[in-house]
Amino acid sequence: MIAMFRSNAALETPAPAAGAQAAPAVDVHDVTVAYHRKPVLWDVDVALPRGRLIAIVGPNGAGKSTLLKAILGLVPLASGRVEILGRPLSQARSMIGYVPQRETVDWDFPVSALDVVLMGRYGRLSWCRRPRRADREAARGCLAQVGMGDFAGRQINQLSGGQQQRVFLARALAQDAAIYFMDEPLAGVDAATERAIIDILRSLRSAGRTVVAVHHDLQTVSEYFDHLVLLNMRVVAAGPIGSVYTTENLQQTYGGRLTILDEAAEALRRAGR
């Protein structure tokens, strides 16, 4: 009973702003995002609960990565707003951890694995301040947590794909965040890395942290995650995995039910030229 209370208390860390006790981890209000006038997200309205492992699932081009980027303020919103732990994004930066897609960076960049993880600590350093010994120690700890302790000095171009993904995860751990956003953390990794990453996600959950991950594998989604957002330009369904992971919902997400929306989007794009 006491243990349960503790884990519930952990859900509240870090303490949210006054009057926002019940605020969800992420609250997305009517968000629309467009690239070159082509809408990628339409009127997405979804609240993500705290302390869960949340998967965002949908077909290619469904706007999964864009939803993460919209929440993180990395793409301009055509309309709508996002709240994190009941606060606007600008006041919630220090509570956010981010794992971008592995392919988005140049892995021939002249830095070591430890240097990359250290970047996770930059958010708590002010302008012009260099990382100190304590930051290095913390970064080493995070590398060890993902089983990469022996690779601290290794150049990142000497790492395998799975190892690179672990380094990215370690960098997010170094951010020591309340909510982690991960873009396909399990894409193209070996089985051992997949297990290691899932173990870490679970321990984050037991520490009361929230994880929002774009996931591509329908086979494993109900095993690994406990909350699901089915996305295809709009939210098809969202909720606890047991109630959302149904054939009908999946068909709606992946099937041909969205042709009218597609056609409308295409017409809008042509009109905008």
């Binding site: 990395l74 981010y98 302008w127």
Partner: protein, 436 residues
């Protein structure tokens, strides 16, 4: 010879000033160029430099006389304008960045050439010395000019030193920087501004045509020598500095010689040297590594061939003939001869009268090789569902580089299934036939 001595001994006060200016300029270009290259903005520096030429001409029209400061301000305004044009074309049309850079660079440069011809056709035009801005003439720099260069270089180096963490984060992973709350767009703009200013102060010495080379080449050369960002930036600064010194000195020795080309050639020399001779990333090191790997693979193949001939005969002590070994694999006689000679020198094989047998050390090594090969073959057949008659060739390519941990894992699996009674497992396909 006299000129050379005066130059080397720095007897001429003006030469000292000019060399100081060129050195500072080269160093600053190398440092800021490193970030530009890593941020994939190197060609934008080229557009910027070319776009500065009409700015210099316009400054002459406005001021009506030759003025270093006015020229630099004009260059800065037009250079910035050029960068903004690239950014506008890229974001507001479907034209990609490389095409946008090409368009802006050549249009602005064309305009600059037209304007400079108009000025030179004026009565006093020849005195404007606009031509020196096209290819650079460091020797014409005076104290004031170099003082300005020193000031700007100092500011740039200090800003880079202070914002090293922010710039490196921006260059490696802009989205992550933005997600952490850093003003990524403003950092990008600041980096571009520093690049802009550095380019502009370099114009009188190196010229608009070749300035970009001084931003790109030292950084690219430095990358060959190190895997650490801070070291790369420092090294790029050093290479830039030396290129500036050497090139300017060379141009100072000939009266009507532009400074830009020798400076860039000096930098190119450093680049060539780095590309060829850098210890890990260099072309020679790479060639040597490949050669070593090829030799190792050939040697292991010879050992495996001898082992399998011995295995089939049931006697490892019986020597195999050259032809027998040759027919066991698809290899050429000269290659096999060379490899056998190396194996004999390494004490792995004994050979007499074209007949060869494994030594004790050779047999131990051969067992290790065959074991790795077969473990990998079994894995491919059973786990990766590759047909047994194709497996030999696939295993051949990778078994030579398999890490020991992986082999241990494969072996553990076989042992658990009780299929590893002998130190060397059975081949999953008939031995002795050449793989198709």
């Amino acid at each position: 010879m006299d000129t050379f001595l005066r130059l080397i001994l720095l007897q001429d006060a003006n030469t000292r000033v000019v060399l100081l200016g060129a050195a500072l300029l080269g160093m600053t270009s190398g440092v800021i160029g490193s970030f530009a290259v890593l941020r994939r903005r190197a060609l934008l520096g080229d557009a910027l430099a070319h776009a500065a030429l009409p700015g210099i001409c316009t400054a002459y029209f406005v001021v009506g006389d030759k003025s270093f400061t006015a020229f630099l301000i004009g260059a800065l305004i037009f250079g910035t304008l050029g960068v903004l044009c690239v950014s506008f074309v890229r974001t507001h049309t479907r034209i990609k960045e490389d095409a946008a850079i090409g368009i802006v660079l050549s249009s602005f440069f064309g305009l600059g050439i037209v304007l400079s011809r108009i000025i030179q056709n004026q009565p006093a035009g020849n005195r404007a010395g606009l031509d020196t801005y096209i290819y650079g003439k460091a020797a014409l720099m005076v104290n004031q000019d170099v003082a300005l260069i020193a000031l700007v270089a100092g500011v740039i180096l200090i800003v880079v030193a202070l914002l090293f963490k922010e710039f490196s984060l921006l260059c490696f992973d802009r989205d992550f920087a933005a997600a952490q709350g850093w003003p990524a767009m403003w950092l990008d703009i600041l980096l571009m501004a520093l690049l802009c200013v550095c380019t502009v102060i370099g114009l009188p010495a190196v010229g608009v045509v070749l300035m970009a080379a001084l931003l790109i080449i030292p950084a690219a050369a430095a990358r060959f020598w190190t895997e650490r960002l801070s070291l790369m930036v420092a090294l790029a600064g050093l290479i830039g500095l030396l290129s500036g010194l050497i090139g300017t000195a060379a141009s100072a020795m000939a009266a009507h010689f532009a400074a830009g080309p020798p400076v860039v050639l000096a930098a190119a020399g450093f680049f060539m040297f780095s590309m060829l001779f850098a210890p890990r990333r260099g072309a020679l090191a790479d060639w040597w590594r490949r050669r070593k790997l090829r030799q190792r693979i050939a040697m292991q193949n010879v050992l495996r061939a001898l082992y399998e001939i011995g295995e089939a005969a049931g006697a490892f002590e019986r020597p195999a003939s050259f032809d027998q070994i040759l027919s066991s694999r698809a290899w050429t006689a000269p290659a096999l001869t060379e490899c056998l000679e190396r194996a004999v020198r390494a004490g792995l094989i004994r050979g007499r009268d074209d007949r060869y047998v494994l030594t004790d050390a050779g047999r131990r090594e051969a067992m290790r090789v065959v074991r790795a090969h077969r473990l990998w073959e079994i894995f491919l057949v059973e786990q990766a569902a590759i047909a047994p008659d194709h497996v030999d060739r696939d295993a051949d390519q990778i078994e030579h580089v398999l890490p020991p941990e992986l082999l241990a894992r494969l072996e553990e699996r076989l042992r658990q299934e009780g299929r590893l009674p002998a130190p060397v497992p059975q081949s999953p396909h008939p031995v002795g036939e050449v793989a198709p």
